[in-house]
Symmetry: C2
Subunit: 203 residues, 2 copies
């Protein structure tokens, strides 16, 4: 199993790593990584013609490639590079969706250190184009997942530079976000919560 | 400079490889790769708040990663994997856009061998969700670029399995597609042609 320096599991696209990730799965929703259950949900949504949402491949800077005879090109030196956008985007009934997924072991707040300026700028640009931008946040200790609107995230992000707090309180996410209930198939039917966000956005 | 086995230049994301690709650029539009000019256009569209469109990073299967002391994680063995979607997607004034870019030295037709079943399925799913799917085709000899609707591509793709031809005629692309005129900034203002496609789609 391959991990990033931050401990996340590497998954360049949905299908090829499935067997690798399966080793991670315990029984029930606890023990599953957020990325894994989102990928499962996306697969379900794709197969049922509900939505087309994919995780973007991880951006990598390639330094060296070898071309062994009669074999596929082999990358022999490369480094992980920082993403300039969010991890997920796609389309749901005509709506452009764009989001990132974050897990935290912090019980009372989601630290803003989970985000980069680039991602905030990206989500802001998406909102300006009429897209549906949000984050999927999982509080690991409570085992609760929320769809939290990007405009709220942006407000907290900007406030931190004017003496505001460096995190979004759990209570705020619980109050303003849309709770994702666990299901059987998919395990994390997050589009039900996104639907509520879309309805609220269009009001 | 790093090349794929098919001769294309590797570009995991827009910014980091810019200097690498610049070596490719001659004067005028001839000599620029299609990918390069699309990236320039996307940068322009982003900076002018016109649209948010990105090329997805190239999907890679990572086999081995080394963690040298005090240094960034170094990927020491990885392979290029086949993309299950198209290369570009994003949002333009509320519309979800999804497309691939293809160049051909063939003067009379675009060979269907430029596409994979996965990409066709993906474009089909996008159309079903109400997205704007298309391909950007450049005929290198004529030095002409067209926005060609995904539903037309899908029709030709399916027909080939029922004895149809293995390529889309240049004449058909010229007649049904939307020509992209060259400009100064951006060099390839393809959204003007996409706008016409959107208008026709909504009629």
């Amino acid at each position: 199993m391959i991990r990033y320096p931050n401990g996340n599991i590497f998954n360049s696209s949905l299908t090829p790593q499935k067997t690798t990730i399966k080793n991670e799965v315990n029984y029930g929703s606890r023990g599953m990584t957020l990325e894994y259950v989102i990928n499962l949900a996306n697969e379900y949504y794709l197969n049922t013609n509900t939505a087309v949402i994919h995780k973007k491949p991880t951006p990598i800077n390639i330094v060296n490639v070898a071309y062994p005879n009669r074999a596929a090109a082999k990358i022999t030196e490369a480094y992980f590079s920082k993403a300039s956008t969010t991890d997920y985007n796609g389309i749901y009934q005509g709506y452009y969706l764009d989001f990132d997924a974050k897990e935290t072991k912090n019980k009372t707040a989601l630290p803003l250190s989970n985000f980069h300026q680039h991602q905030i700028d990206h989500l802001n640009a998406i909102l300006q184009q009429g897209g549906i931008g949000f984050i999927l946040v999982r509080f690991i200790i409570q085992d609760e997942i929320y769809v939290y609107p990007a405009n709220q995230l942006i407000t907290f992000w900007q406030a931190q530079f004017n003496g505001g707090r460096k995190s979004i309180p759990y209570d705020n996410i619980k109050r303003i976000g849309y709770r994702v209930s666990y299901g059987i198939n998919p395990t994390v039917p997050y589009l039900s919560a996104v639907k509520n966000l879309i309805t609220a956005t269009n009001k």
